[in-house]
């Protein structure tokens, strides 16, 4: 939020409060804690997610159901230990009512228990950690992106059918990378394909070249690559530089070629297949409005981070409107959110009542040139996270 907008929203909120009945005016504002990475490698992802959320708050104005709200931002730097201490600060010192966060799966796992113990409503825009849909699920947690399984297993089945029988896996060496790699492997082998090799570069790798000779030697037709941010740019550029892209098709979760990195990757990204719950070129009226609003109101190109951030705001303010601004009664908020159907730029967003994970229409897209953009080549309907029986809400 820039300063002008902050001043404007505070001013409208103050005006609203002046005209509201005395009882409401006496109430404390609703406190929303936003925990996202605003620095280090995931800075852009955090800022885009927050920009989407900001777009949602602009639609609402400075208050909801007659109550003012304030937003407290904290930077988790995509580091679990930093994330936990910032979360503690949001809960203990700022006494926020709702947590919006985060992106890094490791941070999400680390903040899960403190949030659930404090019984705060937790709206998770991006973090894909599967645990949150399985044994680590919670009635307080709602996810707006996809689980790691949804970002990888359907891709494997699709890639086996359309691209080839031999696959290599190269992914981040933390929860998100390892979980998606395991799902891809299981689904690819389950569909009759063969996984010919795996490697797991550390988060923050700038030189992927040393991993390539092993990939070339194992002669895959498909590579499942899962990186994000600066790592994704380096991987895609170097994969093309070393001439591997001409013989091996890349399939990936959306983050490998999402809009925050696509321009920097340039021509090297052309021909990469990705799996996403959102595509900027998706042709429905709500999305046309959304793409325009992102550009005009928050100065960003729409992407799945902005979409998820915007949907978080829609869900939160929609639920608060329903409960007349009562944020203390978390059970009531959960009851309202569970069956909610959100008019999202991606289409309709709804949750699986078994685990609060979204049921998705997955877009399989390919990157095309001039200008660089994603085109949807296939749509996998109503994909839910598999029921492992371990989630007790």
């Amino acid at each position: 939020m820039n300063r002008r907008h902050f001043l404007k929203s505070t001013a409208t909120a103050a005006l609203g409060a002046a005209m509201a009945p005395a009882a409401v005016r006496a109430e404390e504002p609703i406190k929303i804690g936003v925990l996202l990475p605003f620095s280090k490698a995931f800075a852009v992802l955090g800022e885009n997610t927050f920009a989407g959320f900001t777009l949602g708050t602009k639609e609402i104005g400075g208050e909801i159901a007659g109550r003012k709200y304030t937003i407290v931002k904290e930077d988790d730097t995509a580091d679990p230990s930093v994330g936990v201490s910032k979360l503690r600060k949001l809960i203990d010192k700022d006494e926020v009512d709702v947590i919006v966060g985060t992106i890094h799966s490791g941070v999400a796992a680390a903040i899960r228990n403190p949030i659930v113990d404090a019984k705060k409503l937790w709206l998770n825009p991006i973090a894909t950690n599967d645990v949150l849909a399985e044994q680590g699920c919670s009635r307080y947690h709602f996810r707006f992106s996809s689980s790691g399984w949804q970002a990888s297993a359907p891709t494997a089945t699709w890639a086996k059918a359309k691209l080839g029988d031999r696959a290599y896996i190269c992914a981040f060496n933390f929860a998100f990378g390892q979980q998606t790699a395991a799902h891809f492997k299981k689904a690819f082998e389950g569909a009759g394909g063969q996984v010919v090799g795996e490697s797991f570069p550390p988060f923050g790798t700038t030189n992927f070249a040393p991993y390539f000779p092993a990939i070339r030697d194992s002669k895959p037709q498909v590579i499942f690559a899962n990186f994000a941010g600066a790592d994704a740019v380096a991987f895609v550029k170097q994969f093309a530089d070393f001439g591997l892209a001409s013989s091996v098709k890349i399939v990936a979760p959306s983050n490998l070629v999402s809009e925050d990195v696509l321009a920097a990757q340039g021509q090297a990204a052309v021909g990469i297949y990705s799996n996403s719950y959102y595509t900027p070129s998706y042709d429905i009226p709500k999305n046309k409005w959304f793409v325009k609003a992102c550009k005009e109101q928050v100065g960003k190109d729409a992407d799945h981070f902005l979409c998820a951030g915007y949907d978080v705001a829609q869900a939160l303010f929609g639920a608060l409107r329903e409960t007349k601004g009562d944020v203390a009664n978390k059970e009531r908020l959960i009851q309202v959110l569970e069956p909610m159907k959100i008019d999202s730029p991606r289409g309709r967003l709804r949750w699986d009542p078994k685990n609060h994970n979204p049921i998705l229409d997955i877009h399989m897209r390919i990157v095309q040139a001039n200008p660089l953009h994603h085109t949807v080549v296939d749509m996998l309907k109503d994909v839910a996270h598999p029921d492992t029986g371990t989630c007790k809400l």
Partner: protein
């Protein structure tokens, strides 16, 4: 591992190694003269890459970027030494902590400033069209740009080596990095040399920023990783030693490259293990003087 893979891995390691030499040179020479690790070095590397981006987008030439960015950052380096570090060291000649804190603060300032000026968005420096595609070297194919990065950095490193090892100026620099006080007593203008060395180190880091920036992407924090590597390289080679920086950098390039291939689950700690082993056997590094403070 096939022969082709081994050769490719060797070339990759060499490409990284020679570029690491460019970054490590400034670190080690400045340490030799001032007894201080320059914590702003990663920011100078990053600013070099962004300066290259500005020149190449404004003037449309990567080659000009590769020429202008090192000169510009060389001037920035000289200005930092003359305008900030020197006055501080004149006032507090015995403190190593204050110059260290100053460079640390400068590094943070430059990172923050870059974020304000260029934003946190991930941007890319485009390689020249002439260096697109791959070349065939006997049995292996290697990207043309990577080969250029190897040769360009190697040429620069050799030039610097010739200056340091084969010219009167280089003799003074070596004398001043080994013992600045004694060199001054013997009539070497250590103050002027310190400025020259700081400018040279900054310019070389900027050159590496431009060369490596096209392979990855640009962000205000981009310098952190490589300068950590350069630091490990000069610790292995011996703090303050120029030859040590070269040997340490080339060794580290190969350790990283083959570490990934041979010990995929263990290659990050492997680098530190190599450093630890070297320090146990030779506590002041491979080419360290031993008598240094």
């Amino acid at each position: 591992m096939s022969i082709d893979a081994i050769l490719t891995q060797l070339l990759m390691g060499l490409t990284v190694g020679v570029n690491l030499v460019l970054v490590a040179t400034g670190l080690t020479l400045v340490f030799g003269m001032m007894g201080v690790i320059n914590f702003a070095h990663s920011a100078l590397f990053m600013l070099g890459a962004y300066a290259g981006l500005v020149v190449s987008t404004r003037l449309g030439s990567f080659w000009l970027a590769l020429l202008v960015a090192p000169i510009a950052l060389g001037l920035v380096g000289a200005a930092i030494e003359r305008g900030l570090l020197r006055p501080l060291r004149v006032r507090f000649p015995d403190s190593h902590l204050l110059p260290l804190l100053l460079t640390f603060g400068l590094g943070l300032f430059f990172e923050g400033a870059a974020k304000v000026v260029w934003g946190a968005d991930i941007v890319s420096l485009d390689k020249p069209a002439a260096l697109a595609g791959a070349v065939t070297l006997g049995r292996i194919t290697f990207p043309a740009y990577w080969l250029f990065a190897l040769v360009a950095a190697a040429v620069l490193a050799v030039l610097v080596w010739l200056v340091v090892e084969r010219t009167p100026l280089g003799l003074s620099i070596r004398a001043a990095t080994q013992d600045p006080t004694m060199a001054a007593v013997l009539g070497v203008n250590v103050r002027r040399l310190t400025t020259i060395v700081f400018a040279l180190g900054s310019g070389l880091a900027a050159a590496a920023g431009v060369i490596l920036g096209t392979m990855t992407s640009l962000s205000p924090q981009m310098g952190g990783g490589i300068v950590l590597d350069a630091f490990i390289a000069i610790v292995i080679g011996g703090l303050g030693s120029f030859t040590g920086a070269i040997v340490g950098s080339l060794l580290l390039g190969q350790v990283q490259s083959f570490g990934v291939a041979l010990f995929p689950a263990f290659h990050t700690p492997l680098v530190f293990l190599v450093m630890a082993v070297v320090l146990v056997l030779r506590p002041s590094g491979l080419f360290g003087g031993g008598a240094r403070r």
